[in-house]
């Protein structure tokens, strides 16, 4: 080594920095969370009391406050739910089970037909439109095509709802048609929905 000195620093003390990469990003890239272990994603834990036919109160979203019937848990972890549509306007819909307040009231589980088992997450997938080129889009009809609710889905809704409606008595229908609200004197932490 060179036995020399510069401003009090020995040459031997100096370490030369070499660039490892040619390009360094200005900010740290955000990486999506990746499990370091090979542990598989656990299936969604079954909520206590959440069984087919149970009345649930929807806590958020478009149908907040509505009382709906739980049908089954879908493989994606979402809950399949129905109004029934004719009673309260809630169609076959996927909902986050965290936002469902489970009550003790249950409709006869026999009323939930096996049709509900045939519905999957794919049923709710958005229909893919054919890709249009930019030019085509410009010349496309400005009048928007009326969105028609697919008749197959209407039929499906009817098939699932019919046995349920047959089982519901008028009081139960009124109950499902009414939205849940907090009134004077109701303390949410003291209200009982299901005695666990």
């Amino acid at each position: 080594g060179i036995n020399a000195e510069y401003m009090g620093i020995q040459f031997s003390q100096i370490r030369i920095m070499v660039k490892k990469f040619k390009w360094y990003p200005a900010e740290d890239e955000k990486k999506p969370f990746q499990r370091k272990s090979k542990a598989k994603k656990k299936p969604v834990a079954t909520r206590k009391g959440l069984n087919p036919g149970v009345v649930c109160i929807v806590l958020s979203g478009r149908f907040r406050g509505k009382r709906v019937l739980f049908l089954r848990m879908l493989p994606s972890g979402l809950a399949l739910v129905t109004g029934p549509y004719k009673v309260n306007g809630v169609p076959l819909r996927r909902m986050n089970p965290a936002y469902l307040l489970v009550t003790k009231t249950q409709v006869k589980p026999e009323a939930i037909s096996k049709e509900a088992d045939t519905i999957d997450d794919k049923y709710f997938a958005k229909a893919k439109e054919a890709k249009k080129k930019e030019e085509e889009k410009l010349f496309a009809d400005t009048a928007a095509k009326a969105k028609v609710f697919p008749p197959e889905k209407k039929e499906k809704q009817g098939k699932i709802d019919q046995p349920i409606l047959a089982v519901l008595d008028p009081l139960m229908k009124k109950y499902l048609a009414t939205r849940f609200t907090l009134r004077n004197g109701m303390k949410p932490h003291e209200l009982v929905f299901q005695l666990l």
């Binding site: 003790k104 009231t105 109950y175 009414t178 849940f180 929905f193 299901q194």
Partner: protein, 191 residues
């Protein structure tokens, strides 16, 4: 009869007490525990320690023999004829003999507590049912009130109307449909 009662009798004759107190803190007084570990239970006062504390016991009632503050107790009308300082076993015999549990259960206080407890346990559908029933009842009651006011009453029918009103449990005598409507009109005038 305890010393106090004898004194009252002697001093005031037939008037048991001048101040109108009826429930005294005395040995044998049945009390309801309002606060603490034994909240909600019924016990018997066995001995008075001082103005704030008493010795209490409830053998078949689930209350262990203990000193408890009077502030935690609510006295009831029931009084057992026991000497002060009675032992637990002897008290148990008295309670069974008097059938205290049954007597307390029959009191309106216990019934109110039971209904309060039931109300607290109502689930969502039951609450809805209660709401529906209340509305039905209110409809029938208001209908009756309106009918009794609709016709201009002669003296006889006025009496009948009064009777009908009194028969309906929850109507307060000063509330009438007309006065309610007048109130509504008055409110509108403000704006």
């Amino acid at each position: 009869m305890c010393i106090r009662d004898r004194y009252q009798r002697r001093v005031h004759g037939d008037l048991r007490n001048l101040m109108g107190f009826k429930r005294f803190v005395q040995a044998g007084r049945v009390a309801y525990i309002n606060y603490g570990v034994d909240h909600g239970k019924v016990c018997v006062i066995v001995e008075v320690i001082n103005s704030t504390r008493v010795l209490v016991d409830g053998p078949t009632l689930g209350v262990p023999r203990q000193v408890i503050s009077l502030r935690r107790l609510a006295l009831t009308d029931h009084l057992l004829k026991v000497a002060k300082g009675i032992h637990t076993k002897a008290l148990e015999i008295v309670i069974k003999k008097e059938d205290l549990v049954k007597k307390i259960g029959e009191s309106s206080w216990a019934k109110k507590l039971a209904s309060q407890k039931r109300r607290a346990e109502l689930n969502d559908f039951e609450r809805f049912q209660v709401m529906m029933l209340k509305r039905q009842k209110a409809y029938l009651v208001n209908k009756d009130v309106a009918q009794s006011h609709g016709k201009k009453p002669k003296k006889e029918s006025a009496k009948k109307a009064q009777q009908a009103k009194m028969d309906n449990n929850r109507i307060k005598h000063h509330f009438t449909l007309k006065s309610h409507q007048k109130k509504k009109k008055k409110k509108k005038k403000k704006y």
